[in-house]
Symmetry: D2
Subunit: 339 residues, 4 copies
């Protein structure tokens, strides 16, 4: 335990909540999680026991009421994010919130206004920005290692679709999955997108179509600095999580590949092969989840700006809404048409 440590409350003890709990209690020595809340009391209780968190509750308002808690980590369902941000801000807590802030801009804007009024810090959970591979691409752009960027391609495929019940409340592919890639595009180029064009289809599972969603998509991006971007998304790459970037610039190109559990190459009489990539985000982004949480705790303890702001959480939602509109109208949609 360090002399100076940050007292935190965790709201939401699902898969991602437990992941953050593990990092905050074991690997971020300057963090001290003192309460965990979940609407399913059993989930809160199990998380508290597993990570030696002193208290738990089914009501997140109890967390907000704890005067010694300085910051909250919001991992509840998306529908509750904006409301809890507002209340946490009013309670004077610093806030880490998983993406997306909300599925509609009105809720987002209300939440961001509350944060601004309260003068608390808000960091959004775009964890991929902390991954060593993406950071290396960002560094190449920032340092001019490949000259001025021309063409960006983000590949982002999940290993398998989530359950249908999840898809029904997810907000749709663009707001649930592409949103990470929208953020990544802005982060890597260091600039804003003016317009998007999207095409999509139901190729993986017809049931996703009956749930009024798509499972495969391509989105083209026009950046205000002239760069052209492209995002490829699929809910299912049977070989595992496929997360790559290619960027062509005036003086070269940079690309990043997948992460693998080992470097072994096996040759037999059939093929030369390697084991599949790390299966999904838990395995692939372990270190980036840890880094984003360390950065959040440090931003508060050292009173420096958070690396991913509320504004950074809002723009990808605008992009997703523009992509949805483009999909219907089969034309380039300017972000200015949305908000």
């Amino acid at each position: 335990m360090l002399a100076q440590s940050l007292k935190l409350g965790l709201i939401g003890a699902g898969r991602i909540g437990n992941l953050h709990a593990g990092h905050l209690t074991v690997r971020v020595p300057s963090a001290d999680v003192i309460m965990v809340a979940d609407v399913y009391e059993d989930a809160a209780s199990k998380c508290a026991e597993r990570y030696a968190i002193p208290s738990f509750t089914r009501d997140y308002r109890e967390v907000l009421a704890q005067t010694d808690i300085q910051a909250v980590v919001i991992c509840s369902s998306t529908a509750s994010h904006a409301r809890i941000i507002e209340e946490a801000a009013q309670a004077g807590k610093h806030i880490f919130c998983e993406k997306p802030i909300a599925l509609d801009l009105a809720s987002i804007d209300r939440a961001l206004a509350a944060v601004e009024r309260a003068g608390v810090k808000l960091q959004i959970g775009f964890n991929r920005r902390f991954d060593a591979n993406y950071r290396r691409v960002r560094q190449a752009v920032a340092e001019g290692e490949i000259g001025r960027p021309h063409l960006l391609h983000i590949i982002s495929y999940d290993p398998a679709p989530p359950p249908l019940e999840y898809i029904r409340v997810s907000g749709g592919l663009f707001l649930d999955m592409t949103i990470h890639d929208f953020d990544m595009a802005r982060f890597l180029i260091g600039g804003e997108v003016d317009g998007v064009f999207a095409m999509a289809g139901v190729m993986v599972d017809p049931a996703i179509g009956t749930a009024d969603d798509v499972d495969t998509a391509q989105v083209m991006l026009q950046f205000s600095n002239g760069v052209l971007g492209m995002i490829s998304n699929s809910r299912q790459a049977v070989y595992g999580y496929d997360q790559r970037v290619e960027l062509l610039g005036s003086a070269g190109a940079i690309s990043i590949g997948n992460a693998y559990p080992n470097t072994a190459i096996i040759s037999d009489s059939h093929s030369t092969r390697r084991d599949l990539p790390l299966h999904f985000f838990i395995e692939r982004y372990t270190e980036s989840f840890l880094s984003e949480m360390t950065a959040f705790v440090d931003a508060i303890l050292c009173n420096v700006p958070v690396p991913v702001t509320g504004h950074d959480g809002r723009i990808p939602v605008v992009m997703a809404l523009a992509a949805e509109k483009s999909l219907v109208e089969r034309r380039l949609v300017r972000l200015s048409e949305i908000a």
Copy 2:
């Protein structure tokens, strides 16, 4: 010299004409090139001398008039392709013609009609179809090795822009450069494209913009079987010719990489590196140029269908015209709107 050999005339003795001359005279034993024509008599003469071709002329009509010539290889300027095809067909010659057939559909349709009337064979020079890498992707699709195709991405960057005088008569990026990728998309998927959406810019050289062309582009493709495709083009990848494909399917994915002069990996105190890829199409596609010519000669000698038909030459022109329209109108353009 084999018992049975095909007597050919070569029309056009520029860079690509000389390349074909070399293959036909040295590496296709069943071919016998007996005359070469070029409007620059000096070019025709030098080609004849270099490859021991018995006669040369500045007038391609002399080639067509030679009764013992069974087939012609047209490597003249694009503007002359359609006219020479018509005349060669009327003269009863089988025809190999470089792409594109023409920059307008009326000329193409007239040429194809002449070919059909004459009952001669016509093969279009989409040489990349014969490359071992692209063939491997096609095989994977045809054999279902990766299931049903979902997302196709074709990367196609030249090492450096051609001279401005070439660009001015080239027909523009889509008709000059992307046309290879339009053909490749149809070849790999084994299906037709319904609609295209294109975005482009002048990023490499402002002079290309003043010549009313673009140098960087992304084109999205909607196939009639639902596949989504994407083509990325640049007139300049400073590291050399970048020619790759990625294809995601329901049961896996396949990707192909660039070709290199050697497999050496050098590590020093700065980096782990390899030599640049083969610089341009002459080096990269040597074997595929040879294979397409062998296939053409065999198709005639064995009287079997040519592997790349006049129809295959026409469709990519339609796609290019649709891409141009999309670029202006910022919307998805159906091929049916063009022709």
Copy 3:
């Protein structure tokens, strides 16, 4: 803090001692380090402060005297290993000891006898056995994935030689550096070596030669099951830590590559390159150091056998002594000639 935790004392607070301290205090929740000793009191004090270890001392015997300490981790200088093992065993402590146990067999045998008499557990610090890459090779051999092993090649190069003062007391290249590879050879093949042949030279730094050591070596291994092995060692690969294995078997081959800080490939007008591999053992083997310590703690808490025994610590010393003899006599030396 888990209900059941293991109370440990750390002996030696140099580079490797601090590394283990970090893992034991932060990342092994079931471990509880309560005292650290170092002959340099300042080093002990700093380590205690950094990792919140309650007490420190300059005399390791104080650690052995603590009755609530159940196990010790010995990271002191090699010359003291065997003596401390003996005393720790007599004090009834379980023991983790860095390699090598000693530079002579008499000391080793005395230490192992003391361990056996006391009935305590002893684990030797061959951390590479816990690395995901080497484990994957071991798994391939164990499961017959490449058939019966035929030819093994271990590449093991350091990024730069250690200081000369270290080399003078290191016991020489074979006992200091190759010893890891001798252990790896036994681990991967799952069998014993009968004979060794070694050649070596001073190629990196003449000063190493004046210190009576070599800096570059090749050692051939004859396994009792017929496998032929080869170890390549260098004190200096300027591009960084080079740690690889190749294994040919009757049904295939497996090889493992280096670990890199990221997967980025950068192409510019000079080359296609990537960043250098992880620089040295601290970076490359972080996770395997953690895993070996977790395994040690678990072996005691669950009373199961340790994964790397005192016998496993003794054999590589025999192999190193045989290699030294072979180097002088320029012939294959049987291990049975040594001990």
Copy 4:
């Protein structure tokens, strides 16, 4: 046909003879093969027909008697090489001879003496020197790209053992297979070997053991400039022809990999894989066989030294004999002990 062309006779129309015939008649325009000989008249006749060689014979002396033949290409059985070299030299013919010149030094020395007396050119068929990958390694050494060489490792595995009847007359693994690697070691380092140490076994097929040969071997090389080398050989890598080199130097390292039929990477739910490497020497070394023959023809037509001399053919035989002696005596054997 060029103004100046070289008239050649081919002696031996087996697999390698036909390969050279194909290159000389189709792809080396300045070569003119006018007679082919083989003790099996049928083989000579078929080769003549296939490559349009005007005449054939069962007696190589007829080839030597043709006054217009300027050079011979000897691809007959190893046992006849030295004798035919002698006779061809006496007949004033320039000579290309497949490796090895002979299995004993007396025959080799007699042949080389005859060549010297006659003042004709003699080139030995170490084709791998002409491969783009090995040349790249040689270039790196020659230009100091990796500093001074320290450790060389040559991997050379065949896809499958040859027939037993071939093995019985092959001279054994070292003279038949390792001989290429002995030559490669000298070529890459640009220096001579002083001593060798060899270990070997019968791991692939017991029948090879009953034929008094080994099928798996490791040979250590001590160069006179201090470099340490290692050759790994196997008669069987089930995944295909494995031909690689690694070289560590004072300023870096270089390694070369296998050659593949395509660059495709296929990922499915089991693995990420690629097709097997090019299967055997015919496929892998096509271009180097062509280059060596072009170099031979050019050396005569332009009267410049051949790139692989009779001396280069003799030394690897000495090395093989030393390796055999080392295998028996289990010690380092100096080449000076052999000859």
